[in-house]
Amino acid sequence: MLNYAIKRIILMIPTLLGITLVSFAVIHLAPGDPTDMVTSLNPQASQQAQIRLRELYGLDKPIHIQYWNWLKNLVRLDLGRSFSSDSRLVKDKIFERLPVTLALNIASMAIILALSLPLGLWAATRAGGWFDRMTTVFVFICFAAPSFWLALLGMGLFGARLGWLPISGLTSLDFHSMGFWDKALDLGRHLLMPVIISSLGGLAGLSRYLRSNTLEIIRQDYLNTARAKGLSERVVLWKHALRNALIPVITILGLSVPGLIGGSIIMESIYAIPGLGQLFYGAIMSRDYPVIMGGLVIGAVLTLIGNLLADLGYALVDPRVRDAAFR
């Protein structure tokens, strides 16, 4: 297993290099010069100041050297300083916001997993029935409804009209004076809407997938074998069929990581949640290049980690893959 994990991690290195190359290239598509941004905001910045800045950021060097220097710094997690007025380290800016985004996405994943399993399986075992039809309608609507629109409607209905839930931020103003349970409740109330809404898409996808996968499995011969042995229909479905239907779920969850992370940009900027997505959006609007580059790399690395975990989970669960992996 360890060997397999190490092999997988080594295989990630070329992809990582590719990611850094694309991130670097994207930034250098920019017309003009990143230093224009810093200097143009400040009319007193002279030509000389701009030249000094270019030297400071190494922009006077040939492009491959710039890339190499950036890469060297990246390995040491040195992503440079933000162009914004606080000019803090990009690393600090990203890592103080990462936990919020991770927590949001893990909570969404948990909801997706917890709800899509019963939904998908029930729909499959009652294919064609009213429950199946209802979930099909639900799935298609979840696929088609833009999440930011649902977020808006939720804010309007539960926040503005009914006043049940807060509509922005992570905590209330008096958060610091609350006791532990009140703090937990307060956080929960703030996160409830964003988490549920950002999990709808994945929920629809996974339950749909589980449904069709279970329908395939139900036709398999080994289920007939199980029935022929005299096992009850319940055991056949919930043990023999379910276990096999579950295996690909790991892959699907791994594949949904980029979507969730990308979605957090929209969710976090709508609900004013101080996470990575909001940071990235702010950086884009103010053309804060070091933060944009850092965000691109971190987003892609998170995706890679998601894929890696999915592969390892697959190897753990599926004996066919496990045997090959252990060897």
Binding site: P14, T15, G18, I19, V22, V26, I27, L29, A30, P31, F140, I141, F143, A144, A145, P146, F148, W149, L150, L152, L153, M155, G156, G159, A160, R161, V257, P258, G259, I261, G262, G263, I265, I266, S269, I270, F280, Y281, I284, M285, R287, I292, G295, L296, G299, A300, L302, T303, L304, N307
Partner: protein, 281 residues
Amino acid sequence: MFKIGLKKILANRLAFCGGVVVLAMFLVSWMAPILAPHDPDKVMVRSRLRPPGTAGHPLGTDSLGRDVLSRLIWGSRVSLKVGFVAVGLATLIGLALGAVAGFRGGIVDGMIMRFCDLTLCFPSMFLILAVIAILEPSIWNVMVVIGLTSWMGVARLVRAEFLSLMTRDFILAARAQGASAFRIIWRHLLPNAMGPVLVTATLGVAGAILTESSLSFLGLGAQPPMSSWGGMLTEGKDQISKAWWLSLFPGLCILGAVLSYNLLGEGLREAFNPHNASRTG
């Protein structure tokens, strides 16, 4: 194949409805100048934030007094344009790369597929936002960037189709007759791979409309005063406590458009699925 497909689509009620809405959308956006009751950009300060049902403004007006219905009708043009141009671009790139990878195999195939995996690794929203922010927010940039970041599905699909088709006898026969590589790809492989590509493209239009609307919502897509459904929702957000209709209707339009393309795509998928074909005759 396409004839059978058409017949099946007509038999599949949901897919048929999807197709009808898609056609209706084409008509509405084509006839926008005739259908829209008002000039979508005309500011009427005296009739601001009128609720739906107001005389002359069936769906109300926004905070500048512009007619919501007219803006929705004109906004359909943006969604359609983006959907088709972006998906057209993605499909062309995907077809070309997938065909080369599947036909040539070996190192070329490996490299193209690595590149495909690499592009899939980026949360596409991050990549799209970064590129658009750096270029300049405009509807054309949105189309190009969506196209450039969504070709991977088609490429993988075409490659897989090619790999399975190339083991078939009719390709061997074509080779034995001395057909050129181009001819084999163009006349024998591509036409047989087009069904799944059409399905992916139809579903892709739905995805592109969704992406465009989120970009416009974030202020990085269609720029004001151009009316787009996503951009209208940005304003809906500002007026969320005062004017619910500004949030509701544009979202319903997006939902309806995306849903129709999805239903049509799913219907096509079922129609082209040989598994189903053999079962139902």
